[in-house]
């Protein structure tokens, strides 16, 4: 019988061993693709996370620095010498003998330019990393005293514009002429200089200047116009306009040259220092470089160097170092170094607001980072659990195959190497693509950390499933591991206890210390406290896994005695699923739900804190108040008719009411029309009250007026009728209630009185009634319309407009908190998606076995509807339990962890200063709790419905022929 077969000797095949990886790949390409996709997604997220963190911080910093004032993004270097000689030292100027030479001497101009540029270069050389100066945009120049020189009306010509009778003042300034584009006349020539009385050079003869077209237009000047200067100590030189240059375009105006000297571009109406209500025009005229030495003639002169900081190159990580460098430049070692710059008298002093901006940024960032870390840690934990689950399920599918291999004599090392090779083939390309995609899509920040994160996920994904599969195959015999049967080993008990202790420690640490930084340096986030929500979810999952069989058994008991077979069958099958099939999804779901609910709570807490802050700041949806006595009645009516305004109330206030003149404390008396005001209070939610408390409107003379008051004011008023001296006249009031707050005075103490009674007193006294000085609006108040109305009114200068929606928008767009919120939202979304994925996978994984069962049952007469019910009873216990337990855990984690988490930094602060933000702990909100769990259950039911529909359509025969292979 032993006939040697002719061997087909294809050389490749003959030497080839039994293929493994290739054969497996070919066998289940879908599974491989799915796993690869999951690995791709998770590595992408892991790599993107540090990049996104850096990116959001960087862009927040850049936005902050873009929006900040000029001094917040530049270094202003000034000579450190005495103010009078704050200009170039004499040796830097052309020698006076040459000064007598008239005409536009290019050498003269160049020497001034060179001197300024040299100082700039030296200053830049002293600026150290990480501050980088944008050399191309450096701006420097010299101008006469910022006070300016008064310009007198020229004789025989129309007077210069002077809105409040204050004459215009002109500043003489020089900057490199490259920025000027002449539209009329020519560039001024250098003047002839001579030594003045005190040894300072002065202009001899005529000083030629150029002005911008805007200045010329405003002042009615043309080429050839004279500027008559008065008020100088020395006789003023004859000043003639010889050139008019173009106004800077909007784009040019953002160049530092124009931005640092805006007056060179356009005149500005400035309030008079002595009489702030009076405005006058300030102008600047461009003088040639030859005149620079003589500028001190005009009330002193000042050389300046604006060194723009390349803020776009500054990263969030560099912020502390940059702040330190700025500190050093303004008051530290580098400042000393700058003092030695010889070209400027006494060296240079540098000032900048950047340090302050950076410190604020760092402070805010450090407060926000831990909260973000909590969210991200939750997502990471969920992702790990889902990965473990997916690889566990994949290994479960192959349990039989591995058991056979073990029985046939495969060593553990053999299994390990083959599975690892298989796993590597699946994860490596996927991880490479994921990491690369993240690096390409978010090209910023610390690449090494990002790659490290991605690689860690890759390693976990590669090894976790393999090790798990091999560890379970240590013994050769296959054993069943039903959930209701399998008993936790003693080792697992110890591990569970350890996890519980760790969780307790994390929670205690979080509650005691908050999510603070550990130590001083680096990314010192305490990993223990940051992981607290995850640990809480994990411990909950461990407990649930231990308890899970119990409710299942209890649920099975009544179904045993009932007549229907479906319930019993479904629950029995649920109990018979292998532990991997149900416990790992349970863990993944619980973690996901806990973190999602916690994250949702944080997010809604932030939104609520913002809404609360805006309500507290505005008192209603819109608020118009005046510093003057009253708001014009016509304006009030117009405001009331503004589209979108649904309700309004007017208030007459006495902000300086002294309840007890001896005590000296002042409260605000808000005189209101009770009914509309109560409506607004109730709608806004600030101290709602029953308007009838404030009386029927007209009080009889002699009877005390009912008032409501804040707690502190009420304490002063007491319960007896009190006499008060108000701006409306003396009144007797009686306290009828205490309100926590009220729209007219959302912060501070107040007394609320009915308008009818109080104003009747005033009318009786003065014969007139006060009208409103505060209008509260409710509804969709359009800020632009309200502002337009206010600006059209003659009292616009004393009116203040506050729109809640605008304030909310400002808060929402605060760079750092809004970026952090977005990141947090992304984390919550990712967690929810992972949870959905876990549900989907666990359902799909069990689908073939269920299909076979259903087919068998259908041969016995199972109706499709019953099949649907069977799948539901089988699949739902885990998911429902996880949904309930996860929501409860998430809910529990809010009060347990909430005390340690301060949301005020995430919500941003109304005043802009983070110190003013009140600490805000997250509170439980139903939507945040029910949302994710509901979505999960809905998805599960959908999948089950889909599954039963698909199975129902399939031919039973085909299903049964397929046999037990599933």
């Amino acid at each position: 019988m032993r006939i040697p077969l002719p061997l087909r000797r294809s050389p490749r095949e003959a030497a080839a061993k039994v293929p493994w990886v290739r054969a497996r790949l070919r066998r289940a390409p879908g599974l491989f693709a799915g796993l690869a996709l999951l690995v791709l997604g998770t590595t992408f997220l892991a790599t993107a996370l540090p990049l996104a963190l850096d990116h959001y911080q960087d862009s927040a910093l850049h936005q902050i620095l873009r929006d900040t004032s000029l001094s917040g993004r530049t270094l202003l270097a000034l000579p450190a010498g005495p103010a009078a000689t704050n200009t170039l030292p004499p040796e830097q100027l052309p020698p006076l003998s040459d000064v007598s030479a008239t005409g536009n001497d290019p050498g003269n101009a160049r020497s001034v330019l060179d001197a300024m540029r040299t100082v700039a270069d030296q200053a830049v050389a002293d600026v150290g990393a990480p501050i980088a100066i944008d050399r191309s945009a450096i701006s420097y120049g010299v101008h006469s005293s910022a006070v300016g020189t008064e310009v007198a009306n020229p004789a025989g010509r129309p007077p210069l514009p002077a809105p409040d009778g204050v004459p215009p003042r002109v500043i003489m300034g020089w900057q490199p002429s490259g920025m000027l584009q002449l539209v009329a006349g020519r560039l001024p020539h250098d003047p002839v200089l001579q030594l003045g009385d005190n040894g300072v050079p002065v202009v001899k003869g005529t000083l030629e200047v150029a002005v911008s077209r805007a200045t010329a237009t405003e002042m009615n000047w043309t080429v050839g116009s004279r500027i008559v200067l008065t008020g100088l100590k020395t006789p003023a030189p004859q000043t003639v306009i010889v050139g008019i240059y173009a106004n800077p375009t909007a784009q040019q105006a953002r160049n530092l040259s124009w931005e640092s000297e805006p007056l060179l571009g356009a005149p500005h109406l400035t309030p008079d220092q002595n009489r702030p209500a009076n405005y006058f025009w300030r102008l600047e005229a461009w003088v040639p470089p030859g005149a620079v030495a003589a500028l001190s003639e005009f009330h002193g002169s000042q050389a300046y160097w604006w060194l723009p900081i390349a803020t776009d190159k500054l990263t969030g990580r560099q912020a502390p170092a940059a702040a330190a460098e700025i500190n050093s430049l303004t008051a530290g070692d580098a400042a000393t170094q700058l003092m030695t710059i010889g070209q400027a008298p006494g060296g240079l002093t540098v000032s900048s607001e950047l340090g302050h901006e950076l410190n604020t940024f760092v402070q805010q960032r450090d407060a926000i980072t831990p909260v973000i870390t909590v969210g991200v840690a939750g997502t990471a934990g969920t992702a790990a659990a889902v990965l473990l689950m997916v690889f566990g399920l994949a290994a479960e599918r192959r349990a039989e195959e591995l058991a056979l291999l073990r029985a046939r004599g495969a060593g553990l090392r053999f299994l390990l190497s083959r599975l690892l090779a298989e796993s590597l083939l699946c994860t490596t390309p996927a991880a490479a693509v994921g990491i690369l995609a993240a690096l390409l899509l978010l090209p910023s920040g610390d690449l090494s950390t990002a790659v490290l994160f991605g690689a860690a996920v890759w390693a976990f994904a590669t090894v976790a499933g393999v090790v798990r599969a091999v560890a379970r195959r240590r013994g050769a015999a296959a054993t069943r591991s039903d959930v209701t049967v399998s008993r936790p080993s003693r080792r697992r008990t110890v591990m569970d206890l350890f996890a519980l202790v760790l969780t307790a420690a994390a929670v205690v640490a979080l509650r005691q210390r908050g999510l603070g930084r550990l130590g001083q340096g680096g990314l010192g986030i305490d990993p223990l406290t940051a992981a607290a929500p995850v640990l809480l979810g994990f411990s909950g999952a461990l407990l649930l896994m231990r308890c899970y069989p119990l409710p299942l058994r209890l649920a099975t008991r009544p179904t045993v005695r009932r007549r229907g077979a479906i319930g019993f069958l479904g629950l029995a099958r649920a109990a018979r699923t292998p532990a991997t099939g149900s416990l790992l999804p349970l863990l993944a779901l619980l973690l996901a739900l806990t973190t999602a609910v916690f994250g949702q709570t944080v997010l809604s807490g932030v939104a609520a804190a913002r809404a609360d802050a805006t309500v507290k700041a505005v008192g209603a949806d819109g608020r118009v108040e005046t510093n003057g006595p009253t708001i014009d009645q016509r304006l009030v009516d117009e405001l009331r008719r503004t589209p979108g305004v649904r309700d309004s109330a007017t208030v007459e206030t006495d902000p300086q009411l002294a309840i007890n003149p001896m005590a000296g404390t002042r409260v605000t008396l808000d005189v209101v029309d009770p009914v509309p005001y109560a409506r607004i209070s109730a709608a806004v939610g600030l101290g709602p009250f029953d308007p009838s408390q404030l009386g029927s409107g007209t009080a009889r003379p002699g009877e005390p007026i009912p008032v409501l008051a804040s707690q502190a004011a009420a304490d002063q008023l007491g319960t007896h009728p009190t006499n008060l001296v108000t701006i409306f006249g003396p009144v007797t009031v009686r306290l009828v209630g205490v309100l926590p707050t009220t729209p007219a005075s959302p912060t501070g103490d107040f007394v609320l009185a009915p308008a009818g009674a109080v104003l009747a007193v005033e009318q009786a006294r003065t014969g007139s009634r006060a009208s409103a000085d505060l209008v509260l609006l409710r509804g969709h108040v359009d800020g632009a319309v309200v502002r337009a109305l206010v600006n059209a009114s003659p009292e616009r200068d004393v009116l203040g407009v506050f729109i809640r929606a605008e304030l909310q928008a400002t808060l929402d767009s605060t760079p750092l908190p809004s970026g952090a919120t977005r990141l947090y939202q992304a984390a919550v979304v990712a967690t929810t998606l992972l949870a959905l994925l876990a549900v989907l996978l666990s359902l799909i994984q069990a689908a073939p076995a269920r299909a076979a069962l259903l087919a068998r049952l259908r041969t016995m007469g199972l109706r499709p509807r019953q099949g649907y019910a069977l799948i539901l009873t089988e699949a739902l216990p885990v998911i429902a339990l996880a949904a309930v337990a996860g929501s409860v855990l998430g809910m529990v984690s809010v009060p347990v962890l909430g005390a340690g988490i301060d949301l005020s930094q995430l919500s941003g602060a109304v005043s802009g200063s983070p110190a003013d933000a009140t600490p805000a702990a997250p509170a439980i909100r139903a939507a945040a709790v029910i949302g994710p769990a509901g979505a999960l259950l809905l998805l599960a039911v959908l999948v089950v419905a889909l599954e039963s529909a698909v199975i129902g359509r399939r031919q039973i025969g085909a299903q049964l022929r397929a046999g037990d292979g599933a």
């Binding site: 061993k17 039994v18 291999l405 004599g409 495969a410 050769a476 015999a477």
Partner: protein, 331 residues
């Protein structure tokens, strides 16, 4: 000479007869030591083999002191009801399960005392097995040839070319050479099972174990499979142990051991003898197993027929032992 022995219940140690002194027992034990080892000449030796499982906290005694010897080159069948412990025995013999107590030896391998490494070598080189479910014997993603080659590769024997040649040789021997490049799902049940036998034989094992190899097959295919076993037994000289329900199979082998309640209970030996006129006939002898302690398990049919319970009366005759139900003795 007549002696009455108390019927003993399984698992309960036999009581020491009255009048036996401790010295007497010691002497007997010393005498036991000098006797040749039980089954010293056999390939498979199971001596008072015990295997206790615990599932759901309940202990299950699957094997309760099973004795079995199989000599080299034998083709035998193990029969028994479900739960009688025959599959447990097979798992132990396959090196997949470890007995709780007793002795089990296959060739030179002691199944109780093996290290993990020795056990691996044992599975690779000493035994091969075929399971009942046709799909469980083969890896679904490998072709028939690759499946046969896999154990050789796991054992690390020979070169790839030699492995391939042997794989084809085995497939040819089992008459499934034409299936060599097909995957299991493209094979019929019988073909699958024959490929599975080839896989089991890949490493030239001393023992071939088969657990209900014909269980999922129709009788005709079953007969073919059984023929394949016989071929293997004849051609390769492998010792074959088949666990089966199938009376057809049981009728084909020379020795059938029935396992009941975790013990070998009955044994049927068949011999072909020739009459004077030359016609062959199969002579079947049914034996009850006598264990080393002298216990005999009576077939249930006998017990029921005579209403034997608790106790029986024994009398020793010159060449046999007589056994009566208890009530007869009381009459």
């Amino acid at each position: 000479m007549t002696s009455t022995t108390e019927g003993t219940r399984q698992g309960v140690p036999e009581g020491v007869p009255d009048g036996v002194t401790l010295d007497e027992l010691r002497r007997r034990a010393a005498g036991d030591r000098d006797r040749p080892q039980y089954g010293h000449d056999a390939l498979i030796v199971c001596d008072r083999l015990v295997r206790i499982y615990s599932t759901e906290g309940i202990e299950v005694q699957a094997l309760q002191g099973l004795d079995l010897t199989v000599t080299k080159g034998e083709l035998m069948a193990l029969v028994g009801a479900s739960g009688s412990g025959k599959s447990t025995l097979l798992h132990i013999l396959a090196g997949l399960d470890v007995p709780t107590a007793g002795k089990a030896r296959v060739g030179d391998s002691d199944l109780l005392g093996m290290s993990a490494k020795e056990r691996l070598r044992y599975r690779r080189e000493v035994v091969g097995f075929v399971w009942q479910q046709t799909t469980r014997n083969l890896l679904p993603f490998l072709t028939a040839r690759q499946n046969v080659q896999l154990p050789m590769q796991l054992a690390g024997r020979d070169g790839g070319r030699a492995q391939r040649a042997r794989a084809l040789e085995l497939l040819e021997l089992l008459d499934v050479a034409d299936c060599r490049d097909r995957r299991p799902d493209q094979l019929s049940g019988g073909q699958q099972q024959r490929v599975a036998i080839a896989v089991a034989l890949a490493n030239r094992p001393d023992v071939l174990l088969a657990d209900e190899p014909t269980g999922e097959l129709d009788s005709e295919t079953g007969a073919l499979i059984f023929e394949a076993f016989r071929t293997v037994n004849n051609e390769l000289g492998s010792t074959v142990v088949i666990v089966t329900h199938d009376p057809l199979v049981a009728g084909e082998v020379r020795r059938t051991v029935a396992v009941r309640d975790g013990r070998a209970a009955m044994e049927v030996l068949r011999r072909t003898s020739k009459d004077a006129d030359g016609t062959e006939s199969v002579v079947e002898h049914e034996y009850a197993m006598l264990d080393r302690a002298g216990r005999v398990q009576l077939p249930r049919a006998f017990l029921e027929a005579l209403g034997m319970e608790h106790r029986v009366e024994l009398t020793l005759e010159p060449d046999h032992v007589k056994l009566w139900p208890e009530h007869r003795a009381a009459d």
